[in-house]
Amino acid sequence: MKDTLGLIFAYQNEESMQSLTKVRASSSVPYGGRYRIVDFVLSNMVNSGITKVGVITRNNFQSLMDHLGSGKEWDLSRKNGGLYILPPFSQSTGYRGKMEALKNAESFIRKSTEEYVVLATANAITNQTYDEALAYHKEKQADITIIYKKSQVKKYEDGATIGNIITLDADNRVVDVAINPEVGDAEVCRSTEQIIIRRSLLETLIADCASHYMYSFHKDVLQRHLKDLKIYGFATDKYIAKVDSIATYYDASMDLLSGETRAELFYQPNQVFTKIRDEAPTLYLGDSEVSNSMIADGCIIEGTVENSIIFRGVHIHKGAVVKNSIIMQDADIQANAELAYAILDKDVVIREGRKLYGWERTPYVVAKGQVI
């Protein structure tokens, strides 16, 4: 897929993840012990053989820039192509839709020479490549191909959206696009927000939307052009979790404790790449008791950990008990503290004997750097 350009929308859902997105863009929220959410889509592009990727940012992207650096970890530190962070051109009020965001990236897109573009939002936890979808796109001589997954939708009440539901004809051509509809318990075809399009067509659509004051990809492009563009759906059956709220984030994290999810995401020939941090391997001491948990490097575990995700550099002292929780980087859980259904952002300290219990659908979120 040398002839394909990747574009990642790395700025969405900035308001729905509580304190986690106060200090960073949603795409750089830590996930899975050592990753950032953007790592998955970015690795998918790289594993598809894409060597030029633009990351469209809006605001609050210092942490994202620090994480991505020169792109070296994704082998995107290149003379030809490589990784491009695309900040907003001027300090406007943000993007009202993807087409407006793409307008901001217009000169980057025009300067590219690739024939195809993969558009993807950063907030999908999945390990897949785009080779088959692109082959399908070519075979169907499609103008636009939407990668979708047929599934029942779990309902959340905290800002998570169902997203875009497509309806297909027998030939898999898209005949309807519904934006955040009420769907009940039915199985629906949900867009994974991974889209393949010819670069020249994308350029035309960007210019067209800009000159008509339109900005939404789904409303102003897909819905308007259902008839005159050949829009196809390509089905995927890979694991995919959309992270756009605390509840979806918590669920997508706990999914990692299932062997099947881990197998789909990690025990694959295609790796998920992320920024390297220098950490010693994890040290288990004393009466450590660990069960059904993921633990990153650099931890010291002296207490009990159950059904939890422990990031790099966490110290769980003697007698401390951590259950059903997500503990981000460098937390210090002091002796006999207890945590259940908690999400601790980076650098949190839980003092000796303190107890925090949240609940599954509403985990207790502790902001970065807090001392409790």
């Binding site: 899975g32 012990g33 050592r34 070296k72 970890e73 404790l257 881990r262 995401l265 990690f266 790796q271 998920v272 790449f273 992320t274 390297i276 220098d278 010693a280 391997p281 994890t282 040290l283 288990y284 001491l285 004393g286 450590s288 008791e289 660990v290 069960s291 059904n292 948990s293 993921m294 633990i295 990153a296 490097d297 650099g298 010291i300 575990i301 950990v305 995700i309 422990i310 990031f311």
Partner: protein
């Protein structure tokens, strides 16, 4: 154009480490894995960076492919500098003929051109065989303060141990008046650690003189140091009192790994003020299942633990099946220990498979009571890289295998 450097380090990484048996058939000793994610060479390399030395030549000649790939452009140690950084220096041909590195001093001699690029005041000579943390800059400052032609780092050993080391006999001001290689009747307990700081001008002079002597074995300890002492150069011992471990045997390699298993380990790998850098594998966090028990151990990323791990060092991407037991052992990367297999008091190479129900080694007490002494692997069982032990097969304590057993 390289600029002038105060100090350049030359790291002798050519050793085969033949006393490490099957572990060094494919790699040089400095590339041996250690401590769950490191290689031995990470220690001197990290010491260099932490000491502010940003120009390091690594002298290789034995099986360098793996080591070269590991060092790469030096980025993991922040040694990918535009000016300086790390350079791998193999032997080469000059004019019509080529020469292997004949001895430690000859290895440096052949790379005088490399050193002179940086016009250094001091050259630090290191080996890639030891686990320790040391601020070489302090030793350089000591050399400067003493206006010494050469300083040699020394460790105080016991009088009994002294006969196994190169011993420096010193005056009250730490100036050296004599060097004795493994003396039967040591006069001092100051053992050379094989770490030297030389004034480059002096060093170059003695390297060239040594090279001109056809009878020399071109070795620092045997030739250069005695020659400098004979000539009356100012030479001083630099005392070091930290942790220092030669991991030249399988027993000492095992010991050094086990010494990491405590909150107050002498080699604190979690010390952010003196980080030991390493090239990290890209592995997911380790997963510890509901069936697992992990006690007093180091476990690295990418591991999947369904069995019992006790008092062991487990490197990245190791799989330990349900009901399996790993005790008192060192397990190198990518090894698979299947369900109900048992590994005790052993060192397992990279990519080893221990199939279901197989037994490798024996409990430490049992091994020490039953195995005859004097084997290369001591009382342990040692398995070379990539070998497979078949289902329910036994590898006894004291055995060292280089081939599959079914």
């Amino acid at each position: 154009m390289p600029t002038k450097k105060r100090a350049v380090a030359m790291l002798l990484a050519g050793g085969q480490g033949s006393r490490l048996g099957v572990l060094t058939t494919q790699v040089a000793k400095p590339a041996i894995p250690f401590g769950g994610k490191y290689r031995i060479i990470d220690f001197p390399l990290s010491n260099c960076v932490n000491s502010g030395i940003d120009t390091v030549g690594v002298l290789t000649q034995y099986m360098p492919l793996d080591l070269n790939g590991y060092i790469g452009n030096g980025q993991p140690w922040d040694l990918d500098r535009n000016d300086g950084g790390v350079a791998v220096l193999p032997p080469y041909q000059k004019g019509k003929a080529g020469e292997w590195y004949k001895g430690t001093a000859n290895a440096i001699y052949q790379n005088i051109a490399f050193i002179e690029r940086y016009d250094p005041e001091y050259v630090v000579v290191l080996s890639g065989d030891h686990i320790y943390k040391m601020d070489y800059n302090k030793m350089i400052e000591y050399t400067e303060e003493k206006n010494a032609a050469c300083t040699i780092a020394v460790l105080n050993v016991t009088l009994e141990e002294a006969s196994r080391f190169g011993i420096l006999n010193t005056n009250d001001d730490n100036s050296i008046y004599e060097f004795e290689e493994k003396p039967a009747h040591p006069k001092s307990t100051k053992a050379s650690m094989g770490i030297y700081v030389f004034q480059w001008k002096k060093m170059k002079y003695y390297l060239e003189a040594d090279e001109a002597d056809p009878n020399s074995s071109n070795d620092f300890g045997k030739n250069i140091i005695p020659a400098m002492l004979n000539a009356g150069e100012r030479m001083f011992a630099y005392e070091f009192d930290g942790y220092w471990k030669d991991v030249g045997t399988l027993d000492s390699l095992w010991d050094a790994n086990m010494e990491l298993l405590s909150a107050d380990s002498p080699v604190n790998l979690n010390d952010s003020s003196w980080k030991i850098y390493a090239r990290s594998a890209n592995a997911m966090p380790q997963y510890v299942s509901v069936h697992a028990k992990v006690k007093n151990s180091i476990v690295a990323e990418g591991c999947r633990v369904h069995g019992n791990v006790e008092n062991s060092v487990v490197f990245n991407d190791v799989y330990i099946g349900r009901g399996a037991v790993v005790k008192d052992s060192v397990i190198l990367p990518n090894t698979v220990i299947e369900d109900n297999a048992k590994v005790e008091y052993s060192i397992l190479g990279q990519g080893v498979t221990v199939a279901q129900g197989a037994v490798v080694g024996a409990a430490k007490e049992v091994a020490m009571a039953t195995v005859e002494p004097g084997k290369m692997s001591g009382y342990m069982a040692v398995l070379g890289d990539s070998i497979t032990i078949g289902e329910n097969v036994t590898v006894k304590a004291g055995e060292m295998l280089a081939e599959d057993r079914f």
